[in-house]
């Protein structure tokens, strides 16, 4: 039996009250609920406050570069599809530096769960604007206010995502359930997680989010309809939908690879003589 104790890692170096704690708890709960052992999990993270998360739980870990959570996660998943691969990072990490990987991982539909701790700010580097900072958000690098933000949900829908969801770090149960669904989803599961940053984001606070979020499940939203999903992606300032926004069934990248039909790459035998028939073709 997998227990929460199996998922106890180092003490987080986050600020007291940070939304990241809720995400950590929700993830651990989800992994325990799914009865996945830590050594079947590979967590790959970028760089930022969010990206430190893997060290605070347990599993195989590759803490990578800023913006680069997804590419190594993809490489590892292809190499060994038996691993439950979870990519983790912040909004700057995933939607800023790494946005090109983000869009392409979505369209290729790699079988990965991607948790984005979206605190709408650069936390670790102390408070610069992020791509999701609200319009007009003032920071040291945007003294006259941030630009129109990047909308990760709309982009994920537009990029032909197969599992596009949003949750809130302040609602651990909701998040935990959604992480479970995301991990169970065959294909790329995006979880954009609203995460209060108590140190640098004094606009999008716990209460700001709480006043606005509403659960799509209770709202009769049909996550199979793309137009509806796009419409939901446009809600913000006034009310913010959380839950599964869009879902579709499509072959994963790994399923489409003929090479993987004969088992995981990491389990292949080494035999140089295999190349013999190729050499002959050059004669």
């Amino acid at each position: 039996m997998i227990q929460l104790a199996d998922y106890t890692g180092a003490t987080p170096a986050w600020c007291p009250g940070c939304g990241n704690f809720g995400i950590l708890t929700a993830l651990n709960n989800a992994l325990v609920a799914l009865e996945i052992e830590p050594n079947k999990v590979l967590m790959v993270s970028g760089i930022g406050q969010a990206a430190k998360l893997p060290h605070y739980t347990r599993g195989n870990i590759l803490n990578s570069l800023h913006g680069r959570a997804l590419p190594p996660a993809i490489g590892a998943k292809i190499a060994n599809p038996e691993l439950t691969v979870i990519a983790v990072g912040g909004d700057g990490d995933g939607y800023g530096e790494g946005a090109n990987h983000f869009i392409n991982a979505i369209r290729r539909n790699h079988d990965i769960t991607y948790l984005v701790h979206n605190n709408q700010v650069y936390g670790l580097t102390k408070g610069q604007a992020s791509p999701t900072s609200d319009f007009g958000f003032i920071t040291k690098t945007t003294p006259h206010g941030a630009d129109i933000p990047l909308n990760p949900i709309a982009l994920a829908v537009a990029a032909n995502g197969t599992f596009v969801a949003r949750s809130f770090a302040g609602d651990i149960d909701h998040l935990s359930q959604l992480i479970i669904k995301g991990i169970q989803h065959r294909g790329f599961a995006l979880l954009d997680i609203l995460q209060p940053c108590v140190s640098f984001n004094h606009k999008n606070t716990y209460s700001w989010y709480r006043e606005r979020v509403y659960d799509l499940d209770l709202n009769g939203h049909n996550p199979e309809n793309k137009a509806d999903a796009f419409a939901k992606s446009q809600e913000w300032e006034e009310s913010i939908p959380i839950g599964l926004i869009y879902r579709e069934d499509r072959a994963t990248y790994e399923e489409r690879l003929p090479a993987l039909k004969r088992g995981a790459l990491v389990q292949r035998e080494f035999d140089p003589m295999h190349a013999e028939k190729l050499l002959n073709r050059f004669l």
Partner: protein, 570 residues
């Protein structure tokens, strides 16, 4: 015996395919062949040429003279006529209204007309030209057919090509009334492989058990991924073309971390985008093979041409300090063997290995004896032996050892947890800020260079051990330099060659002695600043004062080097 055939024409006229067919036909006939390509960065038009050199002894370079010029357009004549040998023949597509007469060493061959007449379309004019060249030397028709069918298939298209070629062959026999000395027959069983540097690297990777490649297309590296992708289903390997080179290298790192042998390939501009990833492999001690097929820089430079100007960059790429290996194959054969070696060293020392090639090696074809696969050994390095297979404890991925090498593991269900980090980390792989751990980890990683040093082969010495004149080179210039030594040596010049294929860690045990043995030495490099000379000086203190540098995007030929040496009074 030496025969040089050049095919010239616009992009889109099939220059490449004629060149390849010629090379293949002679290889099949038992000859040694070396063939290079000169092409522009466009798909149609402009001027391209392909040079095929045929010999009964080993060849590793091209020459500048031409015995047969297959001029698919008239521009080829004006551009290359001056290179013709006295008995050389220019074959051109005359047809109606063509001014140049079929006299002397010019053969006005109605390539398009014959193609239309025989194959119903002018598309096979290039195959007709191939036939003409074969006819000029009375080469075996059996081989011609064989080669054409292998290339175009045995169906209708293949047949039409055969017919087209034979029509050219017959035309040459019938109409050529100049002097052309060479009548060639096959001279052996044709048991040589004909392949280029990129194919050799791809084959080396396959032999070494690489099953994962992520790469973004870039000339002249693309054909490595294209070859591997073409074999992905047959061999069960994965080739992924992601959105950019950053993704490519990081995917490869992920796949390698997960336990496969993984690689990426690019040219200088793409390599620039990979250097942060290179450092990630350095810090996380992930085995990784990166091919940088050089081309002239900076920036886009000359996209389809050759240069050796990334040497210092490859050695110093990425911020911070970590051990790495840089191998620069001298020719197609080494491209295969160093590709295998790259994967072994990457695994054994858990670090990135850079295979530094260039357009000249990547896309020049060469005959080689078939690689003996029984000589390929797979060394995955020190592996972690698990006492408790189901422990789920974190094992020490970065255990501090005397050699600097930590026993390796990768994530597997029911095995210990594997943790690594781009931050400085402790033995378990968790991030740390501790000054002492930092120092010990840096030293651990750097310590790997010590035993690594012993894996690095000493430079090749060709010619006498000691000589009045020593040429010093690296990488793809080997063939041209060897031949230079042969030619000048044959003329009584006391000359030899020291050639580097395994460059970093610098082979410090042997090089100082080798160099101290020299009298007058010249570095010969396809770059403008003499990067090997700089490196030799920084590693040994020895200053090579003379150099022959070429940086116009074109490869060296022996005659160019000899010319330059002549200017120096040699």
């Amino acid at each position: 015996m030496n025969l040089n055939i050049m095919v010239g024409g616009e992009a889109g006229q099939g220059v490449q395919s004629v060149g390849f067919l010629l090379a293949k036909a002679f290889a099949r006939g038992g000859y040694h062949v070396f063939a290079d390509q000169d092409y522009e960065s466009r798909v149609r038009g402009g001027h391209n040429f392909y040079r095929v050199r045929i010999s009964d002894s080993k060849v590793g370079a091209i020459t500048e003279t031409v015995d047969i010029l297959l001029a698919l357009n008239n521009e080829s004549i004006s551009l290359h006529a001056e290179k013709m040998t006295d008995s050389g023949v220019i074959v051109f597509n005359g047809g109606e209204g063509q001014e140049i007469q079929n006299t002397g060493n010019l053969l006005n061959a109605p390539l398009e007309a014959l193609s239309i007449e025989q194959a119903g379309s002018k598309l096979m004019a290039n195959t007709v030209a191939f036939g003409v060249a074969m006819g000029l030397i009375h080469y075996e028709q059996k081989i011609i057919k064989e080669v054409l069918q292998e290339h175009f298939g045995t169906d209708e298209i293949g047949e039409k090509n055969v017919v087209a070629a034979i029509s050219g062959y017959d035309y040459a026999i019938r109409k050529f009334n100049g002097e052309f000395g060479s009548i060639l027959n096959s001279i052996g069983d044709g048991n040589k492989m004909l392949l280029n540097g990129n194919e050799a690297i791809a084959l080396g990777a396959i032999a070494a058990g690489c099953t994962f490649m992520a790469a973004y297309p870039m000339t002249p590296a693309s054909s490595i991924m294209e070859y591997l992708a073409g074999k992905s289903e047959e061999l069960g390997l994965v080739v992924i073309q992601p959105e950019d080179e950053i993704s490519a290298i990081n995917m490869a790192i992920g796949a390698a971390f997960a336990g496969t042998r993984a690689m990426t390939a690019t040219s200088g501009g793409g390599f620039c985008l990979m250097v942060e990833g290179l450092g990630l492999a350095g810090m996380t001690e992930t085995p990784l093979v990166v091919v940088d097929a050089q081309r002239p820089g900076p920036a886009i430079g000359l996209a389809t041409r050759t240069e050796q100007s990334d040497l210092q960059f490859a050695i110093h790429a990425s911020h911070g300090e970590f051990p790495r290996v840089v191998l620069a194959p001298a020719n197609v054969e080494e491209a295969f063997w160093l590709s295998v070696k790259a994967f072994n060293l990457a695994d054994k020392y858990q670090l990135p290995v850079i295979l530094l090639t260039d357009q000249h090696l990547a896309s020049s074809y060469s005959t080689v004896d078939k690689f003996d696969l029984s000589q390929v050994s797979i060394d995955r390095g020190l592996l972690y032996e698990e006492d408790q297979a189901t422990s789920m404890e974190v094992y020490n991925q970065h255990k501090i050892t005397h050699s600097g090498i930590s026993p390796r593991a990768w994530p597997l269900p029911d095995h210990a947890l594997v943790v690594t980090d781009s931050h400085e980390h402790d033995e378990e792989g968790h991030l740390t800020e501790d000054a002492n751990t930092r120092t010990r980890m840096m030293l651990k990683r750097l310590r790997k260079s010590e035993s690594l040093q012993e894996e690095i082969a000493s430079p090749h010495v060709y010619g006498p051990d000691k000589a009045e004149i020593t040429l010093i080179g690296w990488g793809s210039t080997y063939g041209a330099l060897r031949e230079t030594v042969d030619i000048l040596g044959g003329r009584g010049v006391d000359i030899n060659l020291i050639h580097f294929s395994e460059i970093w860690p610098f082979p410090i045990q042997t090089v100082p002695e080798l160099l101290n043995n020299t009298k007058q030495s010249y570095v010969v490099e396809n770059n403008a600043t003499g990067q090997l000379a700089q490196l030799i000086r920084s590693e040994t203190g020895i200053k090579i004062t003379s150099s022959i540098l070429k940086f116009d995007g074109r490869p060296f030929t022996p005659s160019y080097i000899i010319e330059k040496l002549k200017e120096e009074g040699i």
